[in-house]
Chain length 199, copies 2
DNA sequence: GCGAAAATTGTGGAAATCCGCAATGCGCCG
DNA sequence: CGGCGCATTGCGGATTTCCACAATTTTCGC
Protein backbone atom coordinates (compact mmCIF):
# COMPACT_ATOMS: atom_id res chain seq x y z
CA UNK A 1 0.00 0.00 0.00
CA UNK A 2 1.99 2.92 -1.17
CA UNK A 3 0.79 6.38 -0.07
CA UNK A 4 -2.05 7.37 -2.34
CA UNK A 5 -5.47 8.95 -2.52
CA UNK A 6 -8.27 6.40 -2.22
CA UNK A 7 -11.22 7.48 -4.34
CA UNK A 8 -14.55 6.06 -3.27
CA UNK A 9 -17.52 6.99 -5.43
CA UNK A 10 -20.11 4.98 -7.27
CA UNK A 11 -19.97 7.24 -10.30
CA UNK A 12 -17.34 5.89 -12.69
CA UNK A 13 -16.99 9.18 -14.50
CA UNK A 14 -16.27 11.11 -11.34
CA UNK A 15 -13.74 8.59 -10.11
CA UNK A 16 -11.96 8.63 -13.43
CA UNK A 17 -11.86 12.39 -13.77
CA UNK A 18 -10.74 12.72 -10.16
CA UNK A 19 -8.00 10.15 -10.70
CA UNK A 20 -6.90 11.92 -13.83
CA UNK A 21 -6.80 15.25 -12.04
CA UNK A 22 -4.83 13.98 -9.08
CA UNK A 23 -2.40 11.84 -11.02
CA UNK A 24 -1.66 14.70 -13.35
CA UNK A 25 -0.55 16.51 -10.19
CA UNK A 26 1.65 13.64 -9.12
CA UNK A 27 -0.74 12.07 -6.62
CA UNK A 28 -1.14 8.32 -6.98
CA UNK A 29 -4.72 7.06 -6.77
CA UNK A 30 -6.73 3.93 -6.26
CA UNK A 31 -10.41 3.77 -7.16
CA UNK A 32 -13.25 1.90 -5.50
CA UNK A 33 -16.80 1.86 -6.86
CA UNK A 34 -18.35 1.34 -3.43
CA UNK A 35 -17.71 1.58 0.27
CA UNK A 36 -17.83 -2.19 0.47
CA UNK A 37 -15.13 -2.56 -2.15
CA UNK A 38 -12.89 -0.28 -0.18
CA UNK A 39 -13.54 -2.02 3.11
CA UNK A 40 -12.67 -5.33 1.52
CA UNK A 41 -9.20 -4.11 0.68
CA UNK A 42 -8.60 -1.86 3.63
CA UNK A 43 -5.93 -2.73 6.15
CA UNK A 44 -4.77 -0.75 9.15
CA UNK A 45 -1.45 -0.40 7.38
CA UNK A 46 -3.03 1.52 4.52
CA UNK A 47 -1.41 4.85 3.85
CA UNK A 48 -2.64 8.05 2.24
CA UNK A 49 -6.00 9.76 2.37
CA UNK A 50 -9.58 9.09 1.36
CA UNK A 51 -11.85 11.02 -0.98
CA UNK A 52 -15.30 9.85 -0.06
CA UNK A 53 -18.61 10.47 -1.75
CA UNK A 54 -21.60 10.95 0.54
CA UNK A 55 -24.37 9.33 -1.38
CA UNK A 56 -23.60 5.89 -2.78
CA UNK A 57 -25.42 2.69 -3.48
CA UNK A 58 -25.02 0.36 -0.52
CA UNK A 59 -23.10 1.81 2.39
CA UNK A 60 -23.07 5.61 2.41
CA UNK A 61 -19.99 7.75 2.88
CA UNK A 62 -20.76 8.73 6.46
CA UNK A 63 -21.50 5.10 7.32
CA UNK A 64 -18.17 3.99 5.92
CA UNK A 65 -16.47 6.78 7.80
CA UNK A 66 -17.96 5.60 11.07
CA UNK A 67 -16.86 2.04 10.43
CA UNK A 68 -13.34 3.11 9.57
CA UNK A 69 -13.12 5.25 12.70
CA UNK A 70 -14.17 2.29 14.81
CA UNK A 71 -11.60 0.07 13.16
CA UNK A 72 -8.86 2.54 13.91
CA UNK A 73 -8.31 3.95 10.46
CA UNK A 74 -6.40 7.20 10.81
CA UNK A 75 -6.29 8.22 7.18
CA UNK A 76 -7.60 11.76 6.64
CA UNK A 77 -11.01 11.72 4.97
CA UNK A 78 -12.19 14.38 2.54
CA UNK A 79 -15.91 14.17 1.94
CA UNK A 80 -17.14 15.05 -1.52
CA UNK A 81 -20.78 15.70 -2.11
CA UNK A 82 -23.22 17.15 -4.52
CA UNK A 83 -26.12 17.04 -2.09
CA UNK A 84 -24.63 17.75 1.29
CA UNK A 85 -26.40 19.75 3.91
CA UNK A 86 -25.08 21.73 6.82
CA UNK A 87 -25.84 19.24 9.61
CA UNK A 88 -24.09 16.51 7.65
CA UNK A 89 -20.99 18.63 7.14
CA UNK A 90 -20.93 19.69 10.78
CA UNK A 91 -21.30 16.11 11.96
CA UNK A 92 -18.53 14.90 9.68
CA UNK A 93 -16.07 17.55 10.73
CA UNK A 94 -16.83 17.11 14.41
CA UNK A 95 -16.12 13.42 14.05
CA UNK A 96 -12.72 14.28 12.66
CA UNK A 97 -13.15 14.41 8.90
CA UNK A 98 -10.32 16.31 7.28
CA UNK A 99 -12.56 18.32 4.98
CA UNK A 100 -16.01 18.48 3.46
CA UNK A 101 -16.19 19.74 -0.11
CA UNK A 102 -19.18 20.40 -2.31
CA UNK A 103 -19.28 19.44 -5.96
CA UNK A 104 -18.56 21.00 -8.24
CA UNK A 105 -15.26 21.83 -6.64
CA UNK A 106 -12.34 23.94 -7.67
CA UNK A 107 -9.70 21.57 -9.04
CA UNK A 108 -6.72 23.40 -7.66
CA UNK A 109 -8.19 23.79 -4.23
CA UNK A 110 -9.09 20.13 -4.06
CA UNK A 111 -5.62 19.05 -5.12
CA UNK A 112 -4.18 21.32 -2.44
CA UNK A 113 -6.38 19.76 0.19
CA UNK A 114 -5.42 16.27 -0.93
CA UNK A 115 -1.76 17.14 -0.73
CA UNK A 116 -2.28 18.56 2.75
CA UNK A 117 -4.15 15.45 3.78
CA UNK A 118 -1.35 13.24 2.52
CA UNK A 119 1.16 15.32 4.42
CA UNK A 120 -0.92 15.07 7.57
CA UNK A 121 -1.14 11.33 7.16
CA UNK A 122 2.61 11.05 6.77
CA UNK A 123 3.15 13.07 9.93
CA UNK A 124 0.58 11.06 11.85
CA UNK A 125 2.36 7.91 10.79
CA UNK A 126 5.67 9.17 12.06
CA UNK A 127 4.08 10.10 15.37
CA UNK A 128 2.33 6.76 15.56
CA UNK A 129 5.56 4.93 14.89
CA UNK A 130 7.18 6.77 17.77
CA UNK A 131 4.25 6.00 20.02
CA UNK A 132 4.41 2.34 19.05
CA UNK A 133 8.09 2.02 19.76
CA UNK A 134 7.51 3.74 23.06
CA UNK A 135 4.70 1.44 24.13
CA UNK A 136 6.72 -1.53 22.94
CA UNK A 137 9.53 -0.50 25.24
CA UNK A 138 7.05 0.13 28.03
CA UNK A 139 5.53 -3.29 27.70
CA UNK A 140 8.94 -4.92 27.80
CA UNK A 141 9.22 -3.69 31.36
CA UNK A 142 8.74 -6.00 34.30
CA UNK A 143 6.01 -5.31 36.78
CA UNK A 144 8.56 -4.30 39.34
CA UNK A 145 10.38 -2.13 36.86
CA UNK A 146 7.16 -0.36 36.06
CA UNK A 147 6.47 0.23 39.73
CA UNK A 148 9.92 1.63 40.23
CA UNK A 149 9.49 3.80 37.15
CA UNK A 150 6.30 5.33 38.52
CA UNK A 151 8.06 6.34 41.70
CA UNK A 152 11.09 7.63 39.85
CA UNK A 153 8.75 9.78 37.76
CA UNK A 154 7.19 10.98 40.97
CA UNK A 155 10.60 12.43 41.70
CA UNK A 156 11.31 10.19 44.66
CA UNK A 157 14.76 9.18 45.83
CA UNK A 158 15.82 5.57 45.65
CA UNK A 159 15.78 5.37 49.41
CA UNK A 160 12.14 6.38 49.53
CA UNK A 161 11.24 4.06 46.70
CA UNK A 162 12.88 1.17 48.49
CA UNK A 163 10.87 2.11 51.51
CA UNK A 164 7.56 2.26 49.71
CA UNK A 165 8.07 -0.98 47.83
CA UNK A 166 9.46 -2.66 50.91
CA UNK A 167 12.58 -3.78 49.16
CA UNK A 168 16.22 -2.95 49.58
CA UNK A 169 17.78 0.10 48.02
CA UNK A 170 20.11 -2.08 46.04
CA UNK A 171 17.19 -3.77 44.35
CA UNK A 172 15.71 -0.44 43.44
CA UNK A 173 19.01 0.57 41.89
CA UNK A 174 19.06 -2.57 39.80
CA UNK A 175 15.51 -2.13 38.58
CA UNK A 176 16.16 1.49 37.87
CA UNK A 177 19.22 0.72 35.79
CA UNK A 178 17.42 -2.05 33.93
CA UNK A 179 14.41 0.06 33.09
CA UNK A 180 16.55 2.97 31.98
CA UNK A 181 18.29 0.54 29.71
CA UNK A 182 15.07 -0.88 28.30
CA UNK A 183 13.59 2.55 27.75
CA UNK A 184 16.74 3.67 25.99
CA UNK A 185 17.33 6.52 28.34
CA UNK A 186 20.31 7.59 30.41
CA UNK A 187 18.78 9.82 33.07
CA UNK A 188 15.53 10.24 34.95
CA UNK A 189 15.04 13.57 33.22
CA UNK A 190 15.14 11.95 29.80
CA UNK A 191 12.66 9.38 31.00
CA UNK A 192 10.31 12.08 32.24
CA UNK A 193 10.49 13.86 28.90
CA UNK A 194 9.98 10.64 26.98
CA UNK A 195 6.78 10.00 28.89
CA UNK A 196 5.71 13.64 28.97
CA UNK A 197 1.94 13.68 28.80
CA UNK A 198 1.74 9.91 28.18
CA UNK A 199 0.80 7.40 30.80
CA UNK B 1 -18.00 39.27 33.72
CA UNK B 2 -19.50 36.23 35.26
CA UNK B 3 -19.62 33.06 33.12
CA UNK B 4 -22.53 33.36 30.76
CA UNK B 5 -23.75 32.83 27.23
CA UNK B 6 -23.30 35.91 25.06
CA UNK B 7 -26.13 36.14 22.55
CA UNK B 8 -25.37 38.17 19.44
CA UNK B 9 -28.20 38.54 16.98
CA UNK B 10 -29.87 41.52 15.40
CA UNK B 11 -33.30 40.00 15.81
CA UNK B 12 -34.73 41.09 19.16
CA UNK B 13 -37.27 38.28 19.23
CA UNK B 14 -34.66 35.58 18.72
CA UNK B 15 -32.35 37.02 21.35
CA UNK B 16 -35.17 37.23 23.84
CA UNK B 17 -36.47 33.73 23.23
CA UNK B 18 -32.96 32.34 23.33
CA UNK B 19 -32.26 34.13 26.59
CA UNK B 20 -35.48 32.85 28.03
CA UNK B 21 -34.69 29.30 26.97
CA UNK B 22 -31.19 29.33 28.37
CA UNK B 23 -31.99 31.11 31.60
CA UNK B 24 -34.82 28.72 32.26
CA UNK B 25 -32.12 26.05 32.14
CA UNK B 26 -29.92 27.92 34.57
CA UNK B 27 -27.60 29.51 32.04
CA UNK B 28 -26.99 33.22 32.56
CA UNK B 29 -27.12 35.29 29.39
CA UNK B 30 -26.19 38.68 28.01
CA UNK B 31 -27.66 40.02 24.80
CA UNK B 32 -26.11 42.19 22.12
CA UNK B 33 -28.05 43.48 19.10
CA UNK B 34 -24.96 43.65 16.91
CA UNK B 35 -21.40 42.46 16.56
CA UNK B 36 -20.22 46.00 17.20
CA UNK B 37 -22.11 46.17 20.48
CA UNK B 38 -20.45 43.00 21.62
CA UNK B 39 -16.99 44.11 20.56
CA UNK B 40 -17.45 47.35 22.49
CA UNK B 41 -17.94 45.42 25.70
CA UNK B 42 -15.64 42.53 25.08
CA UNK B 43 -12.51 42.10 27.18
CA UNK B 44 -9.99 39.28 27.14
CA UNK B 45 -11.16 38.44 30.62
CA UNK B 46 -14.68 37.67 29.39
CA UNK B 47 -15.89 34.25 30.38
CA UNK B 48 -18.48 31.90 28.95
CA UNK B 49 -19.43 31.18 25.37
CA UNK B 50 -20.87 32.99 22.37
CA UNK B 51 -24.02 32.28 20.37
CA UNK B 52 -23.47 34.12 17.14
CA UNK B 53 -25.84 34.80 14.29
CA UNK B 54 -24.36 34.64 10.82
CA UNK B 55 -26.26 37.31 9.01
CA UNK B 56 -26.52 40.63 10.83
CA UNK B 57 -26.64 44.28 9.93
CA UNK B 58 -23.16 45.73 10.12
CA UNK B 59 -20.43 43.24 10.92
CA UNK B 60 -21.43 39.65 10.12
CA UNK B 61 -21.00 36.71 12.44
CA UNK B 62 -18.01 35.23 10.63
CA UNK B 63 -16.38 38.66 10.50
CA UNK B 64 -16.79 39.11 14.24
CA UNK B 65 -15.46 35.61 14.77
CA UNK B 66 -12.31 36.43 12.82
CA UNK B 67 -11.76 39.62 14.78
CA UNK B 68 -12.20 37.85 18.10
CA UNK B 69 -9.78 35.12 17.07
CA UNK B 70 -7.19 37.72 16.19
CA UNK B 71 -7.68 39.46 19.49
CA UNK B 72 -7.11 36.26 21.38
CA UNK B 73 -10.66 35.53 22.43
CA UNK B 74 -10.85 31.88 23.47
CA UNK B 75 -14.54 31.67 24.24
CA UNK B 76 -16.22 28.81 22.37
CA UNK B 77 -18.42 30.12 19.56
CA UNK B 78 -21.64 28.47 18.48
CA UNK B 79 -22.85 29.79 15.15
CA UNK B 80 -26.59 30.05 14.65
CA UNK B 81 -27.98 30.54 11.20
CA UNK B 82 -31.10 30.35 9.19
CA UNK B 83 -29.32 30.75 5.86
CA UNK B 84 -26.03 28.96 6.28
CA UNK B 85 -24.45 27.01 3.52
CA UNK B 86 -21.99 24.15 3.65
CA UNK B 87 -18.81 26.08 2.79
CA UNK B 88 -19.62 28.59 5.50
CA UNK B 89 -20.10 25.87 8.09
CA UNK B 90 -16.94 24.09 7.02
CA UNK B 91 -14.92 27.29 7.16
CA UNK B 92 -16.24 28.17 10.60
CA UNK B 93 -15.49 24.78 12.11
CA UNK B 94 -12.04 24.60 10.56
CA UNK B 95 -11.27 27.96 12.12
CA UNK B 96 -12.17 26.55 15.48
CA UNK B 97 -15.83 27.34 15.99
CA UNK B 98 -17.35 25.13 18.65
CA UNK B 99 -20.47 24.35 16.67
CA UNK B 100 -22.59 25.46 13.77
CA UNK B 101 -26.33 25.08 14.20
CA UNK B 102 -29.14 25.75 11.77
CA UNK B 103 -32.37 27.46 12.76
CA UNK B 104 -34.80 26.27 13.66
CA UNK B 105 -32.91 24.27 16.22
CA UNK B 106 -33.89 21.72 18.79
CA UNK B 107 -34.08 23.50 22.12
CA UNK B 108 -32.71 20.69 24.21
CA UNK B 109 -29.82 19.99 21.90
CA UNK B 110 -28.86 23.63 21.80
CA UNK B 111 -28.92 23.94 25.55
CA UNK B 112 -26.74 20.85 25.78
CA UNK B 113 -24.24 22.34 23.39
CA UNK B 114 -24.19 25.60 25.31
CA UNK B 115 -23.57 23.77 28.54
CA UNK B 116 -20.74 21.83 26.89
CA UNK B 117 -19.29 25.04 25.54
CA UNK B 118 -19.37 26.63 28.97
CA UNK B 119 -17.66 23.60 30.43
CA UNK B 120 -15.00 23.72 27.75
CA UNK B 121 -14.42 27.39 28.45
CA UNK B 122 -14.04 26.74 32.15
CA UNK B 123 -11.49 24.02 31.46
CA UNK B 124 -9.61 26.19 29.01
CA UNK B 125 -9.46 28.91 31.63
CA UNK B 126 -8.00 26.57 34.19
CA UNK B 127 -5.39 25.43 31.69
CA UNK B 128 -4.64 29.00 30.73
CA UNK B 129 -4.23 29.99 34.36
CA UNK B 130 -1.72 27.19 34.82
CA UNK B 131 0.13 28.24 31.72
CA UNK B 132 0.22 31.83 32.92
CA UNK B 133 1.60 30.98 36.31
CA UNK B 134 4.16 28.79 34.61
CA UNK B 135 5.34 31.48 32.25
CA UNK B 136 5.38 33.96 35.12
CA UNK B 137 7.73 31.68 37.00
CA UNK B 138 9.79 31.16 33.87
CA UNK B 139 10.20 34.85 33.30
CA UNK B 140 11.33 35.36 36.89
CA UNK B 141 14.41 33.34 36.04
CA UNK B 142 17.76 34.95 35.47
CA UNK B 143 19.48 34.54 32.13
CA UNK B 144 22.01 32.26 33.72
CA UNK B 145 19.35 30.28 35.50
CA UNK B 146 17.56 29.76 32.23
CA UNK B 147 20.75 28.56 30.59
CA UNK B 148 21.38 26.14 33.39
CA UNK B 149 17.79 24.97 33.20
CA UNK B 150 18.12 24.16 29.51
CA UNK B 151 21.11 21.98 30.16
CA UNK B 152 19.50 20.32 33.15
CA UNK B 153 16.52 19.49 30.94
CA UNK B 154 18.95 18.10 28.40
CA UNK B 155 19.79 15.58 31.09
CA UNK B 156 23.33 16.77 31.60
CA UNK B 157 25.29 16.40 34.80
CA UNK B 158 26.35 19.48 36.73
CA UNK B 159 29.93 18.77 35.84
CA UNK B 160 29.15 18.92 32.13
CA UNK B 161 27.00 22.00 32.53
CA UNK B 162 29.79 23.77 34.37
CA UNK B 163 32.06 22.78 31.54
CA UNK B 164 29.77 24.04 28.80
CA UNK B 165 29.03 27.33 30.50
CA UNK B 166 32.65 27.76 31.50
CA UNK B 167 31.82 28.29 35.15
CA UNK B 168 32.54 26.32 38.27
CA UNK B 169 30.43 23.41 39.38
CA UNK B 170 29.54 25.22 42.56
CA UNK B 171 28.01 28.05 40.57
CA UNK B 172 25.94 25.61 38.60
CA UNK B 173 24.72 24.07 41.82
CA UNK B 174 23.67 27.47 43.12
CA UNK B 175 21.83 28.39 39.95
CA UNK B 176 20.21 25.01 39.86
CA UNK B 177 18.97 25.31 43.42
CA UNK B 178 17.71 28.85 42.81
CA UNK B 179 15.83 27.95 39.67
CA UNK B 180 14.28 24.89 41.27
CA UNK B 181 13.12 27.18 44.02
CA UNK B 182 11.67 29.75 41.64
CA UNK B 183 9.95 27.10 39.55
CA UNK B 184 8.52 25.50 42.66
CA UNK B 185 9.98 22.06 42.06
CA UNK B 186 12.17 19.87 44.16
CA UNK B 187 13.79 17.65 41.54
CA UNK B 188 14.91 17.76 37.93
CA UNK B 189 12.25 15.18 37.13
CA UNK B 190 9.49 17.45 38.38
CA UNK B 191 10.94 20.28 36.34
CA UNK B 192 10.96 18.13 33.22
CA UNK B 193 7.33 17.18 33.77
CA UNK B 194 6.34 20.76 34.47
CA UNK B 195 7.79 21.81 31.15
CA UNK B 196 6.66 18.71 29.28
CA UNK B 197 5.83 19.78 25.75
CA UNK B 198 6.35 23.49 26.51
CA UNK B 199 9.38 25.44 25.49
C1' DG C 1 10.52 -31.28 38.39
C1' DC C 2 13.68 -28.42 35.60
C1' DG C 3 15.44 -24.39 33.65
C1' DA C 4 14.98 -19.59 32.32
C1' DA C 5 13.55 -15.16 33.57
C1' DA C 6 12.63 -12.12 37.24
C1' DA C 7 13.27 -10.42 41.81
C1' DT C 8 16.03 -9.96 45.43
C1' DT C 9 20.17 -8.60 48.45
C1' DG C 10 25.11 -7.60 49.88
C1' DT C 11 29.74 -5.31 49.70
C1' DG C 12 32.50 -1.70 48.52
C1' DG C 13 34.43 2.04 46.13
C1' DA C 14 34.28 5.98 42.67
C1' DA C 15 31.61 9.81 41.33
C1' DA C 16 27.94 13.14 41.88
C1' DT C 17 24.60 15.66 44.36
C1' DC C 18 23.06 18.71 48.02
C1' DC C 19 23.94 22.46 51.18
C1' DG C 20 25.45 25.68 54.66
C1' DC C 21 28.98 29.03 55.45
C1' DA C 22 31.70 32.61 53.59
C1' DA C 23 33.36 35.83 50.20
C1' DT C 24 34.41 38.62 45.78
C1' DG C 25 33.36 41.30 41.60
C1' DC C 26 30.12 43.78 38.69
C1' DG C 27 26.55 46.85 37.16
C1' DC C 28 22.55 49.62 38.13
C1' DC C 29 19.58 52.87 40.70
C1' DG C 30 18.49 56.43 43.86
C1' DC D 1 28.52 56.88 46.99
C1' DG D 2 25.98 52.98 49.13
C1' DG D 3 22.84 49.32 48.64
C1' DC D 4 21.04 45.61 45.94
C1' DG D 5 20.65 41.89 42.73
C1' DC D 6 23.23 38.76 40.11
C1' DA D 7 27.05 35.87 38.99
C1' DT D 8 30.79 33.75 40.72
C1' DT D 9 33.83 30.58 43.56
C1' DG D 10 35.82 27.74 47.42
C1' DC D 11 35.52 24.45 51.29
C1' DG D 12 33.85 20.51 53.51
C1' DG D 13 30.72 17.18 54.99
C1' DA D 14 26.38 14.46 54.69
C1' DT D 15 23.77 12.01 51.40
C1' DT D 16 22.92 9.73 47.16
C1' DT D 17 23.93 7.70 42.91
C1' DC D 18 26.22 4.49 39.95
C1' DC D 19 28.27 0.08 39.14
C1' DA D 20 30.96 -4.10 39.05
C1' DC D 21 31.26 -8.44 41.29
C1' DA D 22 28.73 -12.01 43.40
C1' DA D 23 24.80 -14.74 45.01
C1' DT D 24 20.07 -16.45 46.65
C1' DT D 25 15.13 -16.87 46.08
C1' DT D 26 10.82 -16.75 43.43
C1' DT D 27 8.03 -17.44 39.72
C1' DC D 28 6.34 -19.63 35.82
C1' DG D 29 5.84 -22.38 31.87
C1' DC D 30 6.97 -26.82 29.47
Amino acid sequence: MTPCAHLIDDDDAIRDSLAWLLESCGVACRSYPSAEDFLAEWLPSCTGCILLDIRMGGMSGPELFDVLCERGCRMPVIFLTGHGDVPMAVAALKKGAFDFVEKPFNDNELVDRVVEALKLDANQRLAAADADSLSARLSSLTTREREVMELVLAGKLNKLIADELQISMRTVEVHRANLFDKMGVRTAVELAQLLAGKR
